[in-house]
Amino acid sequence: MKRTVFPNRWLPYALVAPQLAVTIAFFFWPAFDSLRLSLYRASPFGDRLIFIGLGNFQRLLSDPAYFRSVATSFIFSALVTVLGLAVALLLAALANAKIRGLAVYRTLLLWPYGIAPAIAGVIWLFVFHPSFGVLPYLLSFVTTYQFNWFLKGWVALVLIVVAAIWKQFGYNLAFYLAGLQAIPGSVLEAASVDGAGPIRRFFAITFPLLSPVTFFLFTLNMTFSFFETFGLVHAVTQGGPGDSTSILVFRAWKDGFEGLQLGYSAAQSVILMLLVVALTAAQFRFAEKRVTY
């Protein structure tokens, strides 16, 4: 790797200082504060702060509902990441073809990323609302099955998975498209000459060459589905029905900001943080070995 040498010793530090200040103020400080708060039973207005050690963690780990929430989060995250990347790769491959009006398609495909998760949630709410949504109305002509996700947990989960994939789709597509265009045409042509069909070419050449992009998107989508889908869940299902869409980040928010059980909520965010750090570390440790740069 190329090393830049600065003439002045302090200049590099001065240059990274603003970014460092932002990271400390908006990440490390709150994170440490959560860590501290997770050891207390705290009252909303701060008049009571009782040290209870690992009491909050004990309360969480003895609650089956919390483990259900962990499971829901993993299922949700896995579906959003795997399906989301598969769909994005497929459409990127199609959008990479030489067809008329390509720029228009590309722009349209990138659009959803410009929408905030909460707004995306509201849009999907309108499409899927059991009473006045468009889709249930259309479905009612085909089947008598009631897709009422106010009461059916699996429908609610599918709904937020689809909405999250749609929301993240433009971002994934942009990276895959860039990745595809960086693949030298000569390699693919050589493969064609050797008699490889389009599918063989894709799996033997394109997909391995895209592995750095896939790895990057995989990590990013996982983090997205663990944290940033909060707005979506908040707008659409509120964690229900029952607790079927109550993913960890939503639960932590609900207990902290609505329930005002601050210590209990801080303990949840600490566990959530540890989980995601562990997952990311594991990916770098194991999955990155399969990545060819």
Binding site: R41, A42, S43, P44, F45, G46, D47, R48, I50, R59, A65, H129, S131, F132, N148, F150, L151, K152, G153, Q238, G239, G240, P241, G242, D243, K254, D255, F257, E258, G259, L260, Q261, Y264
Partner: protein
Amino acid sequence: MKRSTLTMLVAAALLAVLPATSIAATEIQFWHAMTSVLGERVNEMAAKFNASQSDYVVKAVPKGTYPETLNAAVAAYRAKQPPHIVQVYEVGTQTMLSSGAVYPVYQLMKDHGVAIDWNDLIGPVKSYYSTGGNLYSMAFNSSTPILYYNKDLFKKAGLADKAPTTWDEVETMAKKLHGAGVKCAFSSAWPSWVLVENMHAYHDQPFADQSNGFDGLATTLKINGPFGIKMMEQLARGAKEGWFTYGGRLNKAEALMTAGECGIFMSSSAYIGNLTRAAEGKFTWGTGSLPRLSGFPQGNSIIGGATLWVMKGAKAEEYKGVAQFFKYVASTENQAWWAGVTGYLPLTNGAAKALEASGHYAKNPNQKTAVTQMSNGKTTPNSQGIRLGNFTSVRDAIEEQMEHIFSGNKTAKQGLDEAVAKSNEILKEFAALYK
């Protein structure tokens, strides 16, 4: 030249940072959670107060939903910049009472020599927000659930133009509506508040121990008794047979009624305003008292809504202004106007009489339904209100289990038992905080 430009820039920046208050009037921050039409009414009330005198300026600032407003107040108080007045929903009452962060309203009024005839407050409001006979927060917007029905759909199903008065009637009528092809024969907004909290109080059944938390911090819910189970079993049967449509948490189900799809519906009396506007020219509707379940005694419905809390940490001069503002809020004239334009209950007997005398109720009979329902009820330890710590989380635990019951995942007893177990744990956390 360069230096003078810099000085001017600095001066301009400083001026921009300084709050733009006039020197004469003391500013009073009033954070509230009223949106759309209700928010405009609050602004109107503040403007009228500001115009009535020149010493104080009340600034009404909307802070989002009720939980968001409470959250904003918590954060501001911790940052030592609390608003003078914050509107907190009834669910947050115990949190505020225990917080040590509030200046009790009765004390505020006494300290500033402002006399309000507290005895003129209507009973349920006074009992809900008083401790030891003293009012801790200023009653502001109170409502109670009532029954709504869609007259057009009743006609379509061949039903008489009359609201059901018992749960048996609700069931028979809803079945007829369902049979006539009505998509939502019966539904209710605010599932826990209407179908659990209010139904217990309305039938003089305990909701929690310690007289629903009025005699001390409650630690046990009582909703899995014979009454609660019977109520939930009927609703679960309705969901299974199709005559009860669950429409979601909070007031989400109101969308169904507003769209003209529900035959029978229950929600807050403050929903009248929205329904009036939405139904205009589309369908006709009426109201009635909440239905009764036979075999259980008469209690009273309880109130929801919010009150105004005064936060500690401001100057005496500013509190004087708060006291003046509250005096204005409680005045018969203001109360009659407020109840008339919003559909909330008039908070004083004087205001109720004034509305009656002015012919307001004769013109708007639906607005009288809640008043009649409450005056027909009996105030008992079970129906004076509910005061729980961490109530938001408790309500959430209940609604989570209601969804399991309505979807058939659990029986009424299983669901309620689990709601109680979970709630008790949440209540004990709060009790441990303030033991």
